[in-house]
């Protein structure tokens, strides 16, 4: 046979092999897997009274998944502590977890109530309330919000999971989504350029400060619940490659400051535009001064929003510290607490820095001499 023919056959097999290997591989993975389905409770066969441990047997009818339409007896684990129990009666909708185990019987457990419609209803209700209160013309703002959130979940999280450098990835992606959000709010033109400059500067400043202080404060970045699992996963599971935990912290700060920074940039930019519009001749310095003045008013209010939102994030932890009467020094040094406190401070600093940057950009671009 000719060499070229041999090469073509080899190339053919190489290119086909993924399509054979992947289904085989996932076939192996499919053997031990878990599936969640919706089910309706028909009857509770052996109830466990409150205050006792045990497993109730509940007859359910599957409404989704592989067993749709079938009647199966599932287990409901009951504990002597009522707050960890799911009490069901006839007609309730529950989520059933099906564990397919290789070489063993499939097991069914009630994993909780079927709650999923309510999240979507709350989303729809939020949209309605927002549009009613802000005016139906503001639907574009909701679109920008959805875009921001979608980019975080669909782009940023997978990239971070794969091990892309957090600071740069988040900076570039936030720059893009920020640009789109600003475009939606401000329309095109010079205002957009100034606001975008402010946003990028603010977010970048936040990220850089976070990285710096994570180093100075000797933060490992491994402070949030489940962080150790992430470390193990990155070491042992393919597809998971999260190694830069300080970078992760910095990415979190950047995302958190993004909203507030955009708000400030928009306000200062619009305000400077109005000021420049009203005068026939105005110097860069005067525009800058007006920008700073406008920024002053808004900083005061935005700081409140940011810091109180972060405090609310930390509330469960703070209350546990208080109950346990942990000395303040130790609490302050507890990495979770430090991370939240420094995130709040750094995001606020980024916010404050945005004002002069936006004002300068406005001064340079809007001046009329």
């Amino acid at each position: 046979m000719k060499i070229s023919r041999i090469i073509k056959i080899i190339i053919f097999f190489l290119s086909v092999s993924p399509f054979i290997a992947v289904p085989l591989h996932s076939q192996m993975l499919m053997r031990a897997r878990t599936q969640y389905s919706k089910a309706e409770v028909i009857e509770v066969s052996s109830a466990v009274p409150a205050g006792m441990d045990g497993a109730e047997t509940v007859l359910v009818k599957f409404l989704s998944g592989e067993f749709k339409g079938g009647y199966v007896e599932v287990k409901n684990l009951i504990w002597n502590r009522e707050e960890y129990n799911v009490r069901v009666e006839r007609g309730d909708y529950v989520t059933v977890r099906t564990d397919f185990r290789p070489f063993e019987m499939t097991e069914f457990y009630i994993s909780g109530r079927w709650r999923s419609p309510w999240v979507f209803i709350s989303l729809a209700l939020f949209f309605l309330i927002f549009l009613f209160c802000a005016g139906f013309k503001r639907w574009t703002a909701l679109l920008a919000l959805v875009l921001n959130v979608a980019v975080i979940f669909a782009v940023i999280i997978p990239l971070l999971k794969a091990g892309w450098p957090p600071f740069l990835t988040v900076l570039i992606l936030q720059g893009i989504t920020g640009g789109i959000t600003l475009r939606v709010i401000l329309g095109g033109g010079k205002k957009l350029v100034c606001a975008l400059a402010g946003v990028v500067a603010g977010v970048a400043a936040g990220g850089v400060l976070a990285l710096e202080f994570a180093g100075i404060m000797n933060m490992s970045g491994v402070f949030f619940p489940g962080a150790r699992m992430l470390q193990s996963a990155s070491r042992y599971l393919s597809g998971w490659n999260v190694s830069d935990f300080r970078g992760l912290f910095s990415a979190g700060v950047m995302i958190a400051s993004m909203g507030a920074v955009a708000d400030v940039a928009v306000t200062v930019s619009s305000g400077c535009w109005e000021v420049a519009l009203k005068s026939e001749r105005i110097s860069a310095g005067d525009i800058w001064k007006s920008g700073i003045n406008i920024g002053r008013d808004i900083i005061a209010t935005m700081l409140n929003s940011l810091v109180i939102a972060f405090t609310a994030l930390a509330l469960p932890v703070i209350s546990v510290f208080y109950l346990l009467e942990i000395p303040f020094i130790k609490a302050l040094n507890f990495e979770f607490f430090t991370a939240l406190a420094s995130s709040a401070l750094i995001a606020s600093i980024a916010l404050v820095l945005t004002v002069p940057v936006t004002a300068s950009a406005c001064g340079i671009i809007f001046k009329k001499e």
Binding site: I129, G226, N304
Partner: protein, 378 residues
């Protein structure tokens, strides 16, 4: 090796309370060895110190010995010998001269059994706080001082009014509303004074908080959120020895949502109220209808930009946790039924809904109040 670890990981994850919606074992079985509980039970005192000399670096087999100069507490300026244990990577103590560390000791006529606990981050936090305050003062001037004071008051209210009340067992929701009221009034006093501006802002804020509260009560009941998906709430229940009912923790969750949103609600109400009153003072002949329409325009602007602030702040703060959930949650069905997911979504959306209502109510009341002919503007 990989498969063994993988199956261990999967089995071990059964016992992680934060992620399982069904518990193979009660989570608080392990709480007596929880690090925080251990700290609280032990009688160790904590102090800050500076490393003077590393006599023996810490290794896997033996602890390091380091001479530390105590910098805080009753033994300030005293040099003590402290043991240092090697920690899992990324290691936290660099073991260099001059490094700030946190030490713990038993106080028995002198520090005994001194251990190096952790890096001392208070110095760096202080620097960060000073940078922040400095920047605010430079850019905002005198107004900056007032806003910083209002901010400090808000945080202190949460820490010294709300938390103790909740720890004592009082209704978390009432105390959250009460704390928000204090925060609104204090911020308004710092920013505006006591005229129509403030009244409209307070009315709008309270209305927004009430709306958020109502929505929370509705959705939390329907989703059956008890709060016990969160490790901190499990700890809370464990520490208080079952004193509080399940409803208490549901209410605590609602209080968290309200307090988080109250910052944004407060600020939106204040900005809208200020803009409207300024508009009225510049154009005193505007009718109530016109004022209301302009108010709606301003409110709409504030809404659209601020709705991003709240939601992004929460997402950024939770970034690590979201990544971890990605690891544990395998299907969309599971995700949409997870109590954690519901709580996070409600926290963001219902807070934002409350703030939209707050803006609308502020516009309505500011327009009404400012148009009354017999009242004078501040």
């Amino acid at each position: 090796m990989k498969k063994i670890f993988l199956s261990f990981l999967i089995t071990a994850s059964w016992f992680t309370p934060a992620f399982a919606t069904v518990w193979a074992e009660l989570p608080d079985v392990e709480f007596h060895t929880h690090p925080l509980v251990e700290i609280s039970r032990s009688e160790r005192q904590f102090a800050r110190g500076k490393i003077e000399e590393v006599l023996r670096p810490a290794t896997h087999s033996e602890s390091g010995i380091i001479r530390v100069l105590v910098v805080s507490g009753p033994y300030t300026k005293k040099s003590v010998y402290a043991r240092n244990f090697l920690r899992p990577p990324p290691s936290l103590i660099r073991e260099r001269r001059g490094e700030s560390v946190l030490i713990s000791y038993y106080d028995k006529e002198g520090p005994e059994d001194v251990l190096i606990e952790d890096t001392d981050r208070t110095g760096s936090l202080l620097i960060l706080a000073l940078i922040f305050i400095g920047l605010v003062l430079v850019i905002c001037g005198k107004k900056g001082i007032k806003s910083l004071l209002a901010l400090a008051l808000s945080v202190l209210t949460v820490r010294f009014v709300f938390i103790p009340a909740v720890a004592a067992g009082y209704c978390p929701v009432s105390w959250a509303v009460f704390s928000s009221l204090i925060m609104v009034v204090a911020t308004m006093a710092a920013v505006g004074g006591a005229g129509i501006k403030s009244r409209a802002a307070v009315f709008g804020s309270l209305g927004g908080i009430a709306a958020a509260l109502g929505l929370c009560a509705f959705f939390f009941r329907l989703s059956g959120l008890t709060g016990f998906f969160m490790e901190e709430i499990q700890l809370f229940s464990y520490i208080s020895g079952g004193k509080h009912s399940i409803e208490f923790f549901s209410k605590f969750l609602m209080a968290i949502v309200i307090l988080g949103a109250s910052g944004v609600i407060m600020d939106a109400a204040i900005s809208v109220s200020s803009s409207l009153c300024e508009l009225k003072s510049k154009h005193p002949l505007l009718s109530r209808r016109r004022l209301y329409e302009s108010g709606r325009a301003v409110g709409g602007d504030v809404s659209s930009t601020m709705v991003n602030t709240l939601i992004m702040a929460y997402l950024g703060g939770m970034l690590g946790v979201i990544l971890v959930k990605n690891l544990r949650v395998t299907s969309l069905t599971q995700l949409f039924n997870l109590p954690f997911f519901h709580f996070e979504v409600y926290r963001a959306l219902l807070g934002a809904a409350g703030f939209s209502v707050a803006i609308w109510l502020t516009v309505w009341s500011a327009a009404r109040l400012a148009s009354r002919k017999e009242k004078q503007l501040p």
